[in-house]
Amino acid sequence: MASSSSGKFFQNPVVKWIEYRLPVFSFIDHSLGSNYPAPKNLSYWWNFGSLAGAMLTIMIVSGIFLAMNYQPNAALAFDSVERIMRDVDYGWLMRYVHMNGASFFFIAVYIHVFRGLYYGSYKYPREVLWWLGVAILLLMMATAFMGYVLPWGQMSFWGATVITNLFSAIPLVGDTIVTWLWGGFAVANPTLNRFYALHYLLPFVIVGVVVLHIWALHIHGSNNPLGIDTKGPQDKIPFHPYYTVKDAFGLAVFMIVYLGFVFFAPNFFGDPNNYIQANPLQTPPDIVPEWYFLPYYAILRSIPNKLAGVIAMFSSILILLILPWLDTSRVRSGRFRPVFRVFFWIFVLDALLLGFCGAHPPEGWYIVLGRVATIWYFFHFILLLPLLGWFERPLPLPTSISEPVLGGGRAPAGAAARSMEKR
């Protein structure tokens, strides 16, 4: 099914000359081109991986332009950001693109993760692919946290103070570690300097892990809405042009929403307090992290013991690493798991509820709600998923991807596919 257009491309003498010495074109063709076969039934939920990649690119490019004008110095940082907003040509655009880009990067990634959760994309043989995804998520969170500190507003400063203080919960060495992280005895200029250095470094580490993530993806190919293995060429289409054009369309639509916020509600996701310069002597009424951290913040605050709260917060992400073994069902797609499907949506609501609790001060009902939601979060992974695999009766799986689409009109193809079935 290799398209003839790429064949013509490879006849170009310049391309041939380079290709003979460094086969970069065939590498691209095998990675994202006409020689990379993908399941033909991927839905629009599969767009969010490439969208996350696009957001990462946008963040790096806009970030480099911001870095050219930003001053990582506690006395200058706040004003330098405002100088970017006021005096640098299109600085306001770069800054709002970067600021809202963080939110939309997380939106794309969270949808990507929940898609994986629903369709069982973490299961055999894609466990390492899933681990690499968890690593990317953790790196993103570290990068976003440190990036939020850089404008040196009130929320930057106090958010940094609260989060770095979490490490003081570690027994014996906690306080020493916090001092080491700060480079002093409080969040101050040395902290800002190192956060800036790391905020510039980590995105490139993310790029590295993304390369591994895509490498792992290419070994067994994409999962698909049916969650069954592809059985042969009749189940596949070349990535280019089919998914390149589908991803391009998805990207354009995503950009409409994202840039809609950039141009018409650029401070929607922000906190007004961050337009007040950091003041170590004045604590804001309530310290709230960015929206993408709210569920973890709620878990942290739901547990009365600080150390236990910190452990629970980190565990809420780290538990994803053992998810491939916690989920004992051999059926990947939630489409064929009637009970799992219900609990999946309850889990989505639970995650939103945690975010809701994280946005409110821990008083009254919010504490109770937060605790119930926290317990449910871990219950879902630790008890529900292992048990569901044993007790749930999945619906019958289709024999191949082509079969349900063709309506069984091609029996020989289906029969051939069945003999290739491994599991």
């Binding site: 033909k40 839905s43 629009y44 939920w45 004003d79 405002e82 907003m85 006021r86 306001w92 655009l93 709002y96 949808i111 289409i237 042009p241 089919y242 054009v245 589908k246 391009a248 369309f249 354009a252 639509v253 950009m255 409409i256 840039l259 809609g260 950039v262 141009f263 018409f264 650029p266 401070n267 906190d271 007004p272 307090n273 337009y275 007040i276 009424p285 309530d286 709230v288 929206w291 709210l294 989505v348 609501l349 939103l352 509820l353 975010g355 809701f356 946005a359 409110h360 001060p361 689409v405």
Partner: protein, 253 residues
Amino acid sequence: MRKLVVTLAASAALLSIAAAPARAQEEKLPSPGWSFDGPFGTFDPAARQRGFQVYKEVCSACHSMNLLHYRDLEDIGFNEDQVKAIAAGVQVQDGPNDNGDMFQRPGRPYDAFKPPFANDQAARASNNGALPPDLSLIVKAREDGDDYVYGILTGFSDPPAGFKLMDGMNYNKYFPGHQIAMPQPLTADRVTYADGTKATLEQEAHDVVTFLAWAAEPKMEMRKRVGTKVLIFLLGLSGLLYAVKRKVWRDVH
């Protein structure tokens, strides 16, 4: 695709409820309606210039605007000579000169707005211990900042019966806790507008908020203009890409 759109819309709705921060607002803020609201809203140029007059004649006695320069006033309709004249109205310290001495000179357009106090300590000493905040970003630094500043400026009154006001504090309906160190700054006819607009308290507050909103977000009009073009382009591009996608995928299934 419909399922995807429905799910995303539902999640977005839930998220916006979830992310709405708890507001400790006791009084609903008044809103006179702003020219700069909405996707095509722009700053009312006359109100903005009158607002600058209010800031210059009243607010600037105590409040700095450190992020603004006199040259920025060209953006709100003053010509070069007017800006030069406004800047020359203040004395700024410059130097050192060739003898190593600091000296005073009239302000120039590239100078930042001259702050009323030399430093925070001086500001506190002159204001009963309270620090008048810098106003450059005040509209963005408060929840619903435009309505909030308007509310503060129009919200002064005598305290209700039984309300215990601390020494040197003033009652304000919209200030958190209702006790504000700032005495009522604006009253009717506090300024005299050159364009004949009647200087009621509401008019003055409205005008100065328009000026402060511009000061907090001077590129807003440009942002909305560019944004409109970008979104129109993207809508067209999405339509084209969708058509291409349909054509490419025609023979699959």
